[in-house]
Symmetry: none
């Protein structure tokens, strides 16, 4: 327990946690600067000169966090102690309040050839409207004995598969082979209730393929990350903070809801988020989580300049964020996504904490290497929230 409950006050400053997804990077092979080092960030530089800097180790050294575990670590949980799956996060992100006992899985429409081999795991990326049409059709036309399957449409080929019924388990393997050229895998379950889920999923997939046979591209279905809703302490009871998220993408709204935040409308751009932040502070939210996705997207694409641009875009809106009335500003990432690797990595992420109680070190920028010399040092993910509560004057001292 990194923050004893009896120390937490029901008053104090307002905290904004800005998560630049996949923020950390590695040196470019030509000029040896990271994305943060190469970016022109006058506002971040000025803020860094008045802030505490450090790094966050989200999971143990060498262990690379997925987006869910990365955020849960920032929110104060040990993700390696917490069972949860992709399906759950997708459901919550689609504003579906997965109930205890319900099963959710992340779905992809895919393309199968005549031999049943996957030729495109994303079915040529159908439009959102197409996705919605197919989800609705399958939800309405397939019935299974004693249970209900709903499809919640997502962007392009993505949807959430929700199974409602009695005595259902979630320990079921994916049928997604993760590569093309293979058939979808059989579902494998390890206990009796999960065998029931696996059998129902197989039956449903069979009926779905019949209905999709005439589709030009989306003629198959891949399911992964079968999950239920775990017990997670809510943000308000854990930290006595009335909290909200300003995330544009469903996955991050989902993880915020999982820890008890209200998912506010964040619009579709950083400037919308800045406007929404100002309103949230006015509406007396005491903690706001603001999520910026573009840094991660560029990292996955391996596009160094795009990641630099995503950082600079955040920097350009930073003055508006700073003007929203927060008392404590934290800026960090949920994991690194170096453009040289094109995937998440285990490298610790930079951390900036600005408040009237910060201890700046002269000459440091908010970069992977600049933060090495900051006064915070390297902390574990679950140590962030107590630090932010302290900066917000929301923690009593321990002992007399």
């Amino acid at each position: 327990m990194t923050c004893p409950a009896q120390l937490i006050r029901d008053r104090g400053g307002r905290i904004g946690l800005f998560v630049l997804d996949g923020l950390g990077g590695l040196p470019h092979p030509d000029h040896h600067r990271t994305e943060l080092e190469a970016a022109t960030t006058p506002h971040l530089d000025a803020l860094a000169s008045r802030s505490s800097l450090g790094r966050i180790q989200l999971l143990p050294p060498g262990i690379t966090p997925g987006s869910g575990p990365g955020h849960l670590s920032l929110f104060g949980h040990d993700p390696m102690q917490l069972e949860f799956g992709r399906g759950l996060l997708e459901a919550l992100g689609s504003d579906y309040p997965l109930a205890a006992g319900e099963i959710a899985a992340r779905g992809n429409f895919c393309t199968l050839d005549d031999a049943g081999l996957v030729t495109d795991r994303r079915a040529g990326r159908p439009s959102d409207d197409e996705c919605r049409r197919i989800c609705q059709m399958l939800s309405q036309q397939i019935s299974l004995d004693g249970v209900k399957v709903q499809l919640l449409p997502g962007k392009e080929h993505r949807f959430t598969w929700v199974l409602t019924g009695e005595a259902l388990g979630a320990t079921v393997t994916d049928n997604d082979p993760q590569v093309t050229g293979l058939q979808p895998l059989p579902f494998v379950a390890v206990d009796e209730n999960s065998e029931r889920t696996a059998a129902l999923a197989s039956e449903w997939i069979g009926k779905a393929r019949q209905l999709l046979a005439q589709e030009p591209a989306a003629n198959g279905v891949l399911l992964r990350g079968f999950s239920t809703r775990p017990e997670v302490a809510g943000f308000e009871e854990q930290y006595r903070l009335r909290s909200a998220s300003l995330a544009i993408y469903p996955m991050y709204r989902g993880v915020a809801k999982l820890v008890g935040m209200e998912a506010l409308d964040a619009g579709s751009h950083l400037t919308d988020q800045a406007e929404a932040l100002r309103s949230a502070v006015k509406d007396d939210y005491q903690f706001v989580f603001i999520h910026h996705k573009d840094t991660d997207t560029a990292g996955h694409s391996g596009d160094f300049d795009a990641k630099v641009a995503a950082i600079e875009a955040f920097d350009s809106v930073l003055p508006q964020f700073l003007d929203a009335g927060l008392d404590v500003i934290a800026i960090t990432g949920d994991h690194s996504t170096p453009t040289t690797m094109k995937e998440h990595s285990w490298h610790p992420v930079p951390l900036l904490v600005h408040s009237a109680r910060a201890l700046p070190v002269a000459g440091l920028r908010f970069t992977e290497r600049g933060c090495l010399d900051g006064d915070i040092g390297t902390i574990r993910g679950p140590e962030l929230m107590p630090l932010l509560l302290a900066h917000a004057d929301r923690l009593d001292k321990y002992g007399a």
Copy 2:
């Protein structure tokens, strides 16, 4: 658990772990540079400028590791949770596959005076041939009721004492007083089976002293580190790495075997090890542990210049090691042995990790103080292997 088994991939890069025994040092009283700081190491310097740097804390702060615990910590075990003794490591190092239930102890031939006091704990360092002759003689001429004692000769005064029989315990104290001018100590046991071992060891020592009475120097025997073989997870099942050791000294071959490595012939010099490393990589070993003893030997002797020379000797062969076809290079120590202390110490050891995924910090050398500013920070011993697996692209991310 620092590395969940389900994340480990059965593919990825090849890892070389170079352990410079007793690597860490302290400032020389005259010029205030450590051995690493005083050494001229052009190849290490160049490698450091392209590597991640940090430090390893092998045991909790202030706790000095023996060689066995130091290596086991590097290999991913918590040595303070693992019961094992010097005798076991010596036996394995002598290529004796200690069976469950057998007892091994590290033996020294020593010199006793007429009053039975130890005057030389190493019996004037007899030749290896002398040691072999005496070991053979004692093994053949002493018989004990219902059990067998074998002596495995080592270098100079060293041997391994192996007791084979039924219902034997290993919780027996040493008879080695560790200093001259005292009599050998009595064996003390804490449980019934160990009392049996202590009684047999006493009886054996009595018979050995009779047989050794005519020897000019080696007229006594000291035993320490009574041990059995513990249950240890093997390297291959733990990390899915086909692994090998290139250690010249038996003790380190022993600890490598204990964790399931194949102990390859390492020749007798660094250049032999470099050649053997090239072959091992060709033979598809995915992890190779290379051990360099001279740094520790010089540390124990308190010979600052000799330790500098041992470091420089490693540096001069480094290009050959780098050319062997490894994807990840880690260089560190199993503990510090500062020449100013002439013994092991608790100070964290420097760590260098080179791979395509490293984050170098400009201007740092691979020294005790240079590594303080590296991006790895100070990690615990068992956190090294996950980090190396990550650098070798052998770990999946955790969660979606």
